[in-house]
């Protein structure tokens, strides 16, 4: 009993905040120069120009499209954009920074962040507050031989240098690692919906976490590569801090590094050593005014957001809340669902298939929708045929799964569907004939009382174990009996 109480107490006092860096991968060019923002799979140091290499004399110019993208995200999160967009220089020496400073935004020293405030809702309904968002440039990528500590050299690839990054900082509103993971998943979904980023691309969405227990010291964890790792790193850190606290050791305020291979966090630097970044306004970029008109324009271009979509699915399409939630927050599933509805009007059937069959299959096989040879058109056609041809649900599921897994292609599935219906029709005829033959007494009764048809119905359904369409059986029975008694 006592132990349980302690556990609940500490759970309640865990505070987790996240700092997410997301590349605006859908932009055509880098944040401050004309180089492509598609740097992946390119020869090292080929996606560069004098500007992103910081060559003497070059000047940055802002990619206006990036401003629109950032505004989209900020409006979708209900974050208030600042009226003036100001850039600052964050000065520090590091080989991944061509200029030895990063152009970013700053909320002190006369600066303002890109936007302030905002919320993202978790499935539980809990709101995670956004503190601020900033637009900044990505540094280059450093390759080490082995690990950062043991490597004899570092290789620098500047292809990534200057890519537009959106930094999203939350309040410490998450009270367990699961919530942190869900926040990231929801944020990812949102960024995909807005078509500003492809967070699944390697390194496109990166995350630092900060955590404090029982209102204690704040520890930052860096170098977390995926959402799963966030959960793991936070769980480790909670265990580590709890162990320290239980031994009466004070948790140090520090920055720790998540060592994915060893599954532990290791100390990077303590607070005292933290650098002074000497922020000051970037003199080469002029402040940009964000006016109401711009914001209005962007609101008009915003797609329907997951939260709203979920409600519509339940209210207007009659989906269950579970189905609606799963589909509305996953961009790929949502697209398949919406596209299928363009070809057929069977939302419940399609919805159920997507979640209970397709998603279940994907999860089982650890695949994504892109791996399947399945499109909205096929799915819709199958749904329509299944309404037209009377086949058992069991058989239908079997066929759907064969289609999903690629065992049968769409044409084969359709053929089977037609054949199956014929087989079934023969079967029904056979049962109907035998029931009529073996119940001559009832046949006589029918002449006087038409309601005796129900008796035949019962018999047929009993034999077929209810697998066939009752309406059809009724029509067939009536037709046959009338013929006999004529």
């Amino acid at each position: 009993m006592r132990e349980l109480e302690v556990k609940t107490l500490s759970d309640m006092s865990i505070k987790i905040g996240l700092e997410v860096h997301c590349q605006l991968t859908k932009l055509k060019s880098k944040l401050f120069c004309p180089c492509s923002s598609d740097y992946r799979d390119k020869e090292p140091n080929t996606n560069i120009c004098p500007i992103c290499m910081g060559l003497p004399g070059t000047l940055p110019t802002l990619n206006k499209e990036a401003l629109f993208y950032a505004l989209k995200v900020c409006l979708a999160l209900n974050s208030e954009p600042n009226k003036r967009i100001l850039f600052f220089r964050k000065n520090y020496y590091y080989p991944d920074l061509p200029k030895n400073f990063q152009i970013t935004q700053y909320d002190r020293g006369g600066g303002v962040p890109f936007s302030s405030g905002g919320v993202l809702k978790l499935s539980s309904g809990k709101e995670i507050r956004i503190r601020r968002m900033n637009l900044e440039e990505d540094p280059a990528k450093i390759f080490y031989e082995g690990s950062i500590t043991s490597s004899r050299y570092s290789l620098i690839d500047y292809n990534r240098a200057g890519i537009a990054l959106l930094e999203i900082v939350t309040e410490p509103d998450m009270s367990n690692p699961k919530e942190a993971r869900e926040f990231l998943e929801r944020l990812k979904g949102l960024l995909e919906h807005l078509e500003v980023s492809e967070p699944d691309l390697e390194g496109a969405m990166r995350c630092d976490a900060n955590i404090s227990l029982m209102d204690g010291t704040r520890v930052e964890i860096k170098n977390i590569s995926s959402f799963k790792e966030v959960e793991k790193a936070l769980n480790f850190e909670i265990a580590r801090q709890k162990a320290l606290i239980s031994k009466g050791i004070k948790v140090k305020r520090e920055t720790r590094h998540w060592d994915e291979a060893r599954r532990i966090t290791v100390s990077l630097r303590e607070k005292e050593e933290e650098e002074d970044y000497r922020y000051f306004p970037e003199p080469d970029l002029v402040p940009i005014a964000i006016n109401e008109e711009m914001v209005k324009q962007i609101i008009l271009t915003l797609p329907e957001l997951p939260e709203k979509r979920e409600k519509r699915y339940v209210k207007e399409l009659g989906l269950s809340e579970t189905l609606a939630k799963v589909i509305a927050y996953d961009r790929d599933l949502m697209k398949l669902f919406e596209d299928s509805l363009k070809y057929c009007n069977l939302p419940k059937k399609i919805g159920s298939w997507i979640v209970n069959d397709i998603l279940a299959y994907l999860n089982r096989k650890n695949l994504t929708l892109k791996d399947l040879n399945l499109d909205a058109n096929k799915l819709a056609k199958l749904a329509e045929y299944s309404e037209e041809y009377k086949v058992s649900d069991k058989k239908l599921k079997e066929l759907l799964n064969e289609l999903i897994s690629g065992k049968k292609n769409f044409l084969e599935v359709l053929k089977t569907l037609k054949k199956e219906e014929l087989v079934q029709k023969d079967e029904v005829l056979r049962i109907v004939d035998s029931v009529i033959k073996s119940n001559s007494k009832a046949l006589e009764d029918y002449r006087k009382n038409k309601k005796v048809l129900d008796y035949f119905m019962g018999k047929v359904m009993e034999i077929s174990k209810g697998k066939i369409d009752a309406k059809e059986v009724r029509n067939l029975l009536k037709e046959k009996i009338e013929e006999i008694i004529k």
Partner: protein, 480 residues
Amino acid sequence: MKKLYHLPYHELRRKIFDKEIKVKDYAQEILERIKERKDINAFITINEGILEEANLIDNKIKEGEKVGRLAGALIAIKDNICTKGIRTTCASKMLSNYIPPYDATVIERIKIEDALILGKTNMDEFAMGSTTELSYFGPTKNPLDKERVAGGSSGGSGAAVADHQAPLALGADTGGSVRCPASFCGIFGLKPTYGLVSRYGLISYANSLEQIGPMAKSLKDLSLLLSCISGKDERDSTTLPLKDFNFSFEKKGKIAKRVAIIKELVEEGLQRGVRERFYSALEILKDMGIKISELSLKILEYAIPCYYIIAMAEASSNLARYDGLRYGLKLKEGMENFSLYISKIRGEGFGDEVKRRIILGTFILSAGYYEQFYIKAQAIRKIIRKEFDRIFKEYDLIISPTMPSIAYKLGEKSKDPLEMYLGDIETVSANLAGIPALSLPCGYSSNMPVGLQLMGKPLSEGLLLSTAQEFERIRGENFE
């Protein structure tokens, strides 16, 4: 006999177009002049391809092809303006081997007008200085007195034009770097309105203050060069949205009517000879029918500290990129530790004045001092801007001497940085306020030229030039 190199460009241009002379012959003559006058040390690098390029222009003219406004002009370029394929050093050991892969916007623009890059001129390292003594390549000497400095930081450009080693030059002015050598060498130099000329390709010292500016032997040449380099550039967000500048001298422009002199700029610290020249210049202005009033602008007491705080802060960040990893000076050893390597590179590659300004700038931006220095300096800058705005509501121009003295003796100021900084008192305000300022010769003191400075409201270059032209006419003394 007057040699070709004595001529201002607009006269040469006529001869070139009349096929009286060949650009190649002219270039040959200029190259010989530079060789003869090597002791002036105006150039760091000469464009090796100049004769071939001259030949191309000659052919164009021979074939009757249309040529640009600067056809055959050999232009000396300050060595902090990037020239594709031609070494650009900033007069620093750090960049002593650096060859830019691109042209600055101003270089593109003069090339379109068929100008030729003559070479790259000496300067104070990274433009930090007022004498051109602080160069890795040695000091530039004043062509009028080799015991004296040419001024700085665009001293090589100033000396080259004054010494007839180039008809035209580009300099860059952060706190007086075009006007000071113009004044010390007796030529014309203009710092344009901030945003009139693109800085793309100008190696940054203090971004919010500096502008590339023309230097010439005549106002006509100066305005032609200015017209060719001005206007909006998509690659520099701080350029103003203006197109097609033409500061033409064909028509007589409007001249100033009301002029202000600022007590704080003309009372203390002026050399006697400079003061005398200045006051006789005022007499000429009065002869031109200009009304002159004296005002006081107390805030200018803070102009120099304000200027140096902003300049050093920006410089400390701008110069951070020189770490010996990607270009410039390299060391063969010590690569195993990034921090030690860049400390060593920066220790070896930068001169003392550059280090001093980086250290001070770093200090100024540090936590706790930023508010005390940087934010305050920006507040003073705002006030200075406002005060100038106010003055220009009533007056067309503000005039002052360009420099408080004639050219210093070599070594006179460069040993004491503070003294050197104080010499910028007349010039820094224009950079802080972003307004245009022109330096023109207004006589001699101890056989050395004295410069007169005209400042006007933003984009009043036309008024500055036509007023200066009228001043020249009345003075009845042509520089040549």
